[in-house]
Assembly symmetry: C2
DNA sequence: ATCTTTTTATGCGAGATCGAATAAAAATGG
DNA sequence: CCATTTTTATTCGATCTCGCATAAAAAGAT
């Protein structure tokens, strides 16, 4: 019979390596992060990196995908539909801002918007991941907004698609502005204004 | 007496060189654009580039600043106040989308949002330009919205600061989505939905 | 016409980057 | 205990990157 798993066992933890690689990509971007940087951060030699993930772009895409999946899951969990849309949406925006400004030094914004956008023009694979990801976030928002319309929290005539795209836009802007160094309260003001427009001004 | 202008006259056109350099930075980003690329595109040798603009980052900042000034001027011109806010704002969003999707191949979005965001984390000078620029665009929008409130086109209770930040957010999102490869009509739908929210749904 | 000044042109060199190729190590199978 | 397989470790080489240093060219000043 053939095998179970022969050969020398891997020493690295794939998830942990992806996490460390993501940190570098997230703050410096794809182009400014070298394989040596990644090798040092993951404590994997370059041949090991190549064997585990392929070339630099493949590693970057794996990091992006992992980030996206975790973020979409987190968003979906907050938008569970158990509370008011306004409450849940405020929570999404606040938690997103937390993540975008989490870094000890300069804020890093959203990894997709902050680092994948540049590469999207000349790297179709990155562009595809970015576009799919924007669509995934938007879809979660739109679904939740449809529920709010059905529940009567929003005007039955409301345009769920349009409102979702505006809500997405607010997140895109939070990501950009965080990375530009805007202070927390400016981001919160944007979120509040957007909530008033999307959900109706609160009394 | 000292001089008028001695020495060999410059052969390059500074504006044209900045234009060509901007094209490269805009599509590939700062990190992925080499001095050799810039030298070839501007038809200036590297020492000439260094003499005229300083190092690569200084050239990039000059390109960003020029782009920003031209864009702010264009926006201010459209938001002249001669027409309805809704009409002028629709014009701003449409023309911005035109620019963001102008490229023959992959759309390049906004040069500031698409390329300066990545660098902003590790390059304070770039971060400063980006933050100032976002503020400049926002200020033009806010001023025009204040006028609309004074003119009675918008509710006198409307929050000009908040509405301006939402309008800015729409532009940020248009920039990101263009670079992500979203189709024109998706961007136009976002603009329409935003106009309905900001200016009030049209009858 | 010669000198001075400023720009352009060419090339050098230290350092980094990335992929691949080769050798050593660690596990299983017979 | 030896062979096979898979990962890890080290190294090399081709290319790119960027700043600088030196030489040539083009203009004004005297």
């Amino acid at each position: 019979m053939a095998n179970a798993k022969r050969g020398r066992p891997v020493q690295y933890d794939r998830e942990q390596a992806l996490q460390r690689a993501s940190d570098l990509f997230w703050s410096a971007g794809f182009a400014a992060t070298s394989l040596d940087d990644l090798s040092a951060a993951t404590q994997m030699t370059r041949p090991s990196l190549a064997g585990a993930f392929g070339d630099k772009e493949a590693l970057y895409i794996a990091a992006l995908t992992r980030y996206r999946d975790a973020s979409v899951d987190a968003m979906r969990e907050i938008l569970s539909g158990k509370r008011l849309l306004r409450t849940e949406l405020a929570d999404v925006l606040r938690k997103a801002t937390d993540v975008y400004m989490a870094s000890a030094d300069a804020a890093r914004g959203c990894m997709l918007i902050g680092t994948a956008s540049v590469e999207a023009v000349h790297r179709p694979a990155v562009r595809r991941v970015l576009q799919e990801s924007l669509g995934a976030f938007n879809a979660v928002l739109e679904e939740r907004i449809r529920k709010a319309i059905a529940d009567g929290e929003l005007d039955p005539e409301a345009d769920a698609t349009g409102l979702a795209s505006v809500a997405s836009a607010i997140m895109h802007s939070l990501a950009v502005r965080a990375r530009a160094g805007e202070p927390r309260d400016a981001l919160d003001k944007l979120s509040d204004a957007a909530l008033d427009l999307i959900c109706g001004k609160r009394p």
